[in-house]
Structure formats: C-alpha cells, structure tokens
C-alpha cells in the first residue's frame, strides 16, 4: 500500500472525531507539562543549595510519582472511552477489507501522533510554565528566588520516556480491544438495545455497609497515631462504598421514585427520572469517580492550606521557647539527676557567655514508661505486646513521672504529694479512675491537673499517643520500681527524659548560632555515656524547615488539585457529549409527541442539575466526615486548630464549587446545543 496511507488514515480519523480527540489531546498535553514541572522541581536539582528547600523538594519528588501513576490510570480510562465511540468506524474498515493488522497500524499511527503532539507541546508549555511554577514554589516555601531560566535535560528525557511507555501500553490495550471483536459486532456496538437496569439491592446494601463502616471508622478515631494507621483503610472503604452506592443505589432511588405514581407521573419528573434510572448504571461509575476526585481535591487542598496558614502556630507549639534542648537515656542509674544539673549548668553558662539573658527557663527531667493502657491500668508486661498486629493503637500510652518538688520549682506551683499518691494529668481524653496502676504499683489519684499539662508539654494534645503525667512524691524511688522491665530487644522500658527550654533575648542569628554551639556542648558532655538521643534546637532555625515542609505540601496540593480538577472536567465533558448524542434521538421523539423546546430545556436542566449535584453533595459529605480524622493527622504536624481547618475547608469548597458551577454551565450549553440540533 502507498506510503503515507496509514498516517493519513490516522489523522483523518482523529480529525473526524475532533469533538472527542481535542479535549483528550489537551489533557495529555497538560499531564505532560505538569509531570515535567514536578520532575523539574523535584529531581533536576534547581532547588539544590537553597536553604530549607530540601524537604519541599522531597515532597514535590513524591508528587512526581503520584502524577506518573495518575496519568497512567487516567489516560487509560479516557482512551478506552474514546475507542468505544469509534468501534463502528473500525468495523466499517474491516468490512471494507482491512484486516486487523491494518487497523492495528492505523491505531499505532494514531497513538504515535498523539504521543508526539502531546509530548512536544506538553514539554514546550511545561518548560514555559516551569519558571512560573518555580517562582510560586520558592515563594510558598520562602526561599530566595533564582533569576535564571533553565531547562532540565534529565526531566525532558524522563518525561519523553514515561509517556512513551504509557502510550505504548495504551496502544496495546486498544489493539486488544479491537482484536477480540468481529466486524459485525464492532459495527453494531453502541446500538444494541440496552436493558433497563434492575435495582440491585444486594450491591446497594453492600455499598451502604462499606460507606457506613468507612464513616464510622473515620469518626471513631480519637488518637493521631491510629488515625495514621486507619486513615487509608477508611479512605479505601469510603471509595469502594461510593462506587457501589452510586452504581446501584441511584438506580434503586430512581426505581423507588418511579413506584411513587403521583411523583413520577408529573411533567417535570417523568422524563428526567426515567432517563436517569436508565443511565445511572453506566454512569454511576463516572459519577463516583468525579465524586472521589472532588473529595480528594477538597481534602488535599483544605489540609495543606490549613497547614500552610497555621505554620507559625505549629512552630510555636513545637518550639515554645527560643532554645530547646533534649536528652534521653534508657534505663536507670543514680547519676542521672546530677547529670541533669550538670547539663543545665553547661547550657546556662554557655548561653550567658554568648551574651544571652536567660528567661522563661523550664528545665526538668521525667521518667517515662510506655505500655498498653486500659481500665486505668498500664500494662508494661511485654508478653501482651509481642504481637504488634493486634495492638489497638488507641490504647498505647506513655506515662511520665515527675517529682513534686521539681514540678513546684520549675512551673511555680505549690503541690504536695504523699507516698502512694499521684496528681494525674493528661491532655487527651483518657479515662482514669480513682486509682491508677502502672505495672504493679498502684497510685491513688488525689487530684487532676489536666488543664495545666500544656505547661509541661505544649505538644501534649498532639502527641502520637496519649501521655499521662503523674506527679509523685519521690520520682527516683518510683523509677526504681520499673528497672526490671525490658522490651523484646532486651532494652530497658524505663527512660529518662531531660528537657530544657528558655528564651535568650538574642536576635535571630544569635539564637541560631547559640543553638548550634549548645548542640556541640551537649554532645561533648554526653557522648559515650549511653544516651540514645540528644539535641539542641532553636525556634528560628526550625522556622525555615516548617515553611519549607508546609509550603511544599501546599504546592503539591495545588498542582495535584489542578490535575484532578481537569480530569473531573474531562470525565464530565465526555459524559455530557455522549449522553447528548444519545438523547438527541429521544428528544426528537418527544418533540413529535408534543413536548416544546421550553419543556425540553426544563427537563434537561433539572436532570443535569441532579446529576451534577450528586457528586458534589457526596463529596461534601465525605469531606465533613473525613475532616475530624484529617484534624488528627494534622496534630502530628503540631497543628491543633480545628476551626482553621474548617475555615480552609469551607474556602476550598467555595472555590471548587464555583469552578464546578462554571463547568456545569459550559457543558450544559454544549449538551443543549447537541440535543436541540436534532430536527
């Protein structure tokens, strides 16, 4: 056959289906350019050498992988809907005498051309936009901006290769679809009379069960550490539930509406309810995808924006004073109290030598032991903890013993505790009775100081697991009770924590320099003495890291949201276009039977509004349910601000809602045009 025949066939085939291929191509281009931007920022090294850019760059690097996976899935999905609409055309080719290999070659050319166009235009726009993205990125993570423009060769190569692989897989998949169909089948595809969907109660109930258990899980979780574990399980349950419910539940709903004669047989409801029932089965999955994407966007944007705006709060919570030092040693020995005093003296001397005026000094030590806390009793015995899989993370707790004299001295209180008694405090909702048992020792709870726990540990509410403070008469004597416990590695369970935090009155640079010097001093003192961890940090030095982390996350959230939103738009667009062509014939009939254009428009609007509102309403419910668990997760970052999170969520819902409404308007106009063009 003549050279150039196949490329020509491929081009004309795509041109004839321009209404379907143009949006597909635009999506491909967008995917390519965003992937390039991700890779450029995450891997090309433009961010190297920027203070505080490290964490954010890692985040964006993670985004690169997410983007690659999402692009693969989504392009696969879109391509398969595209090819469905063209089966008839391929059937015709094969009746005209083309064999499957010829058709395969046309498809190969098509895929190749799309890959070429998408990658070249995508890279061009990606390179063009990369500087803009870089500016936004550096602004968000508050690092100085470069003024040079660069193109990353490695990013270009990676993008080209990745999309070559994706499109090759798409090509194989398309050929597979064409190969297993005979011409007659291909030509009648899409025309075969379709059964009206039956209401499938079993699937509907199953969906409800999945969704319900996902919801309950999301609402039940109280502790951040279990939130981390259960979040993904809840998410998966909710996703499955949404799919099942939207696929079958909507049909059930329509069937119920149809049973209600006085509702169903009304001009406004008649046409929309029946055609909705008819297409819900097919489009339930599409609607569920839209709903899930919207939920992802909302959760991602509201959590990352809350983190970003609440950054200073997180910082203050994590580093309440300008300088913070910490040391930790497992086990017990008598020298520890004097070691603490010595450390304190070293720090204060060094600080004052630097010209610091030590204020708000909180230096104290505690003994800590962890275990399984249930019914006011901490189980330290390890046999019950050997099988990690069965641990209920909501019940893991840490007990901190602090001496009453030290508590009074450091925090300026006046409490007195007798032997065998304890003043108990926790920032978490942990049930504690009149006595508390730790290991084998019983303490009588004489008082609670829950509201003052934050003085000791400002992060207490956000701790991964509940922390319970016990103010005891003689902390050394108490600690000795727990020397015999050790974990499965043979390490002692008991740990000695030493904290010191204070303000200095130095300027930012002075604080940062001081923290560095103090780190050195602590290391000098403790090195080789069996301490498992020690450090000294400054509030100022950590700010950069916080801004970088949260800014990076926010940036990631924004870029991924854009991609998800565009995908949403495309799903909706294809749905409307294909339904428009289907409904064309239907509305022609209705016109003949006596429906005027006004009524058609009304019926179309009420139908579209319902279909459009469905996923949005679902997504908002999902968001509302997931928000508490997101709040728990944000606690791990040190953000304890539910109102801020809710405010961010509301703003995100508003923005996405506006955008969604705009899509609705545009697609409904396109749909009406198609429907009413029938005469």
């Amino acid at each position: 056959m003549k050279a150039g025949f196949y490329p020509k066939m491929a081009v004309s085939g795509m041109r004839k289906n321009g209404r379907l291929y143009v949006p597909y191509l635009i999506t491909c281009i967008l995917m390519v350019s965003i992937f390039y931007i991700f890779h450029f920022l995450g891997f090309s090294g433009v961010m190297n050498g920027m203070a505080g850019g490290g964490t954010a760059t890692q985040m964006v690097g993670m985004g690169t992988y997410i983007m690659a996976v999402f692009a693969t899935i989504f392009l696969f999905y879109t391509q398969s809907t595209l090819i469905k609409g063209r089966k008839k055309e391929f059937g015709l080719y094969s009746i005209l005498g083309m064999n499957k290999r010829n058709i395969g070659r046309i498809i190969l050319w098509e895929t190749f051309i799309i890959w070429m166009v998408a990658v070249s235009l995508g890279l061009l726009s990606g390179i063009g936009l990369s500087k803009l993205a870089e500016l936004g990125f550096t602004k968000l993570i508050a690092v100085p901006t470069r003024y040079s423009f660069s193109v990353s060769g490695s990013s270009v190569v990676t993008t080209v290769i990745l999309f070559a692989v994706i499109f090759f897989m798409i090509y194989l998949n398309t050929v597979r679809q064409i190969r297993f169909a005979d011409p007659a089948q291909l030509i009648s595809a899409g025309k075969s009379g379709e059964k009206p969907p039956k209401a499938n109660w079993a699937i509907g109930i199953l969906g409800l069960v999945f969704l319900g258990s996902g919801y309950i899980l999301a609402l039940k979780i109280k502790q951040p550490i279990s939130a981390l574990v259960w979040f993904f399980i809840a998410v998966i349950l909710i996703i499955i539930g949404t799919y099942l419910l939207l696929i079958s539940g909507s049909v059930i709903m329509c069937r119920l509406l149809q049973k209600n004669k006085s509702y169903y047989y009304r001009t406004n409801h008649f046409v929309s309810v029946s055609s909705m029932a008819y297409r819900m089965k097919r489009n339930g999955a599409g609607l569920a995808s839209i709903c899930i994407l919207l939920t992802m966007i909302l959760v991602m944007l509201s959590s990352t924006s809350a983190l970003y705006t609440g950054e200073e709060q997180c910082l203050d919570a994590r580093y309440p004073n300008e300088i913070g030092a910490f040391a930790c040693k497992y086990g017990y020995d008598e020298t520890l109290p004097s070691q603490g005093e010595k450390l304190d003296e070293i720090l204060k001397t060094a600080a004052e030598a630097k010209g610091a005026e030590v204020k708000n000094n909180y230096t104290y030590s505690v003994y800590s032991i962890s275990g399984y806390f249930e019914n006011s009793r901490l189980e330290v015995n390890l046999n019950s903890l050997t099988d990690m899989a069965f641990i209920d993370y909501d019940k893991v707790a840490q007990i901190m013993f602090i001496d009453d004299d030290e508590y009074n001295r450091v925090f300026g209180h006046d409490v007195n505790v007798n032997p065998g008694e304890a003043i108990v405090g926790t920032a978490k909702r942990v049930d504690i009775g009149d006595t508390i048992t730790v290991g084998d020792v019983v303490f009588e709870v004489t008082e609670r100081f829950d509201d003052k726990v934050a003085e000791i540990d400002p992060m207490a509410t956000g701790a991964a697991s509940p922390t319970i403070y016990l103010i005891v008469d003689d902390v050394e004597a108490t600690a000795r009770e727990y020397i015999r416990y050790s974990d499965y590695n043979g390490e002692p369970m008991l740990a000695w924590f030493w904290y010191s935090r204070f303000d200095t009155g130095l300027d930012e640079e002075g604080q940062i320099a001081l923290a560095e010097e103090l780190s050195g001093k602590i290391k000098e003192e403790l090195n080789g003495k069996g301490f498992s961890n020690y450090y000294c940090e400054s509030h100022e030095a950590e700010r950069g890291d916080f801004v970088s982390t949260f800014g990076g996350l926010f940036f990631l959230g924004i870029l991924l949201s854009i991609i998800f939103l565009v995908s949403c738009v495309l799903i909706i667009y294809y749905k409307q276009i294909s339904e428009g062509f289907e409904d064309q014939a239907r509305f022609t009939i209705m016109k003949k039977v006596g429906m005027n254009s006004e009524e058609i428009k009304k019926s179309v609007n009420s139908q579209m509004l319902l279909v459009f509102m469905f996923p949005v309403i679902f997504a908002c419910i999902h968001l509302a349910v997931v928000l508490p668990i997101v709040d728990k997760l944000l606690m791990l970052f040190g953000l304890f601000n539910m109102p801020l999170l809710i405010a961010c969520a509301l703003v995100c819902v508003l923005i996405c809602g506006l955008f969604y409404a705009a899509i609705y308007k545009v697609t409904s106009v396109a749909y009406l045009k198609i429907v009413s063009s029938a005469e």
Partner: protein
C-alpha cells in the same frame, strides 16, 4: 364543515445558501370529513411525508393553509405548537418512535403526562383502550423486549390516549411483517369504526385498500382519488393497483 381542510399547500425546500430550490409540494388541496379513513399513496419522494408533516404542524407550508376543526395551523404560535399537537393530533410513525428508557405503559402515558394529567385518569383511559389493542399483558415491558407489531400497537395506543381529533399515520406498516401488518390494519379499521378519523400515508396497496378513500400524490400534486364506497377490500385493492399502474405508466390525468 370538514374536520381537516388543506388549501393550496405549497412547500419549497431551499438549499442552505440559496442555491437550487426543490418544490416538494406544488399545489395540494383536499378535505377530510369527520370519521373518515383516508389513505394517501405515492412513490418514495412524491411528497407524501412532507404533506403529513405539514398537517401535523411538524413543518410549515411555504404557502397555503391547513385548517383543523376550524383552527388555522399557521396561526398557532410557535410555543403552543407542541401543546396543540399533543391535544389534537395523534401520530403513528413508521419506526414507532418509542422511547427505550420507558416501559410501554410509560410511553403511552407520555403525552398525557406532558399535558399534566393525573395518574388515575391516565390509568382509566389506558384501561379503556388496552384491551382493544391487545397490549394489556405487555404494558410493563420495555420496547426492546417486544416485537415490532406489539411496539406499533403501543404507539397506536399512545396516539389514541389523548382522544385526538385526527390520527396521522406515516407508513404505519412499513417496518412490520405481513402478519403484524394485517393485525395493525384491522386494528385501524376497528378504531375507525368507533368514529375516529384517520389519515394514513403509505405506499402499500394492501394498507391503502383498507381505507374508505385513497388519494394519490405524484410529483407534489394530488393526482387522483378513489372512494371505496360499497366495494370490498379486494375490489378496492384492484382499483388501487390499476391506478398505480396508470401512474407508473406516466399516464395523464
């Protein structure tokens, strides 16, 4: 006064850019009396479907008037046309035009629902006609589940349920096998005997021989008409065949 009166109907189709124009109907005039069963015959392209569309207010005549029961169709406002059609005309199509999203029952109710009727009233009306049409058993089925003949009977029910002044049928037997055609034609006859006026467009001699009067249309004009009078269907069939032969032979009026 006649139920339907078409006067000097002319229809000219223009190509989009004002090029050559096609005269589908040249000058058509005829009347239909109440209770009549009229068939319009003609070859493909003779203009008979155009005529029916004009009578059904689906299309507008370039010239001429159509008066249904004293109402001038050209005077009906655009936005009222659909309602007018719904209330006064029953249409039966060659390809049934049933909506696949509706059960047969709902398809039949469609015009009534659009007219805003209540369910009990719709049910009453359907109960009255479903027996005669032989569709009582299949009302809950969907169009794709039943045969062509059954679909067309449901379509007839949809046309009848509004109690229209006239039923317009466009090749109602065109998509049916001969047995279903016979059934449908006898159904039409039965319906006509209850006093329902029917105007049918067809090119099937068999179908036309059922009518009480047959109009022949050729090249956009009414060429000839014959009355059945007291003739049997068979005799009528012969008369129509003769006329068609004459037409095909290019004979002059």
């Amino acid at each position: 006064m006649s139920l339907l009166e078409a006067k000097n109907i002319k229809k000219i189709y223009k190509t989009r850019f004002g090029g050559a124009s096609v005269e589908a109907l040249k000058n058509v005039s005829f009347t239909v009396e109440k209770g009549e069963y009229v068939a319009i015959m003609g070859e493909s392209g003779s203009g008979k479907t155009t005529l029916l569309n004009i009578l059904a207010a689906l299309d507008k005549a370039t010239e001429g008037t159509v008066i249904l029961d004293g109402m001038d169709l050209s005077k009906v406002k655009d936005k009222d046309v659909a309602g007018f059609r719904r209330d006064n005309l029953g249409y039966v199509f060659q390809d049934f035009n049933l909506l696949d999203t509706f059960s047969l029952e709902d398809n039949i109710y469609l015009p009534l629902v659009l007219a805003g009727k209540k369910y009990p009233e719709m049910k009453d009306r359907l109960d009255k006609i479903s027996g005669t049409l032989g569709i009582s058993e299949i009302l809950k089925k969907y169009p794709y589940e039943v045969s062509g003949g059954q679909k067309q009977r449901a379509a007839v029910a949809r046309a009848l349920i509004t109690e229209p002044r006239i039923i317009l049928a466009d090749e109602p037997t065109g998509a049916l096998d001969s047995k279903s055609s016979d059934e449908l034609l006898s159904l039409f006859k039965k319906v006509n005997q209850t006093g329902q006026t029917i105007l049918m467009v067809t090119h099937s001699t068999k179908a036309a021989s059922n009518a009480s009067r047959v109009l022949f249309i050729k090249d956009g004009v009414i060429f000839h008409q014959i009355y059945k009078g007291s003739n049997t269907d068979r005799q009528m069939y012969q008369m129509i065949s003769d006329t068609l032969n004459l037409l095909a032979g290019g004979g002059e009026r």
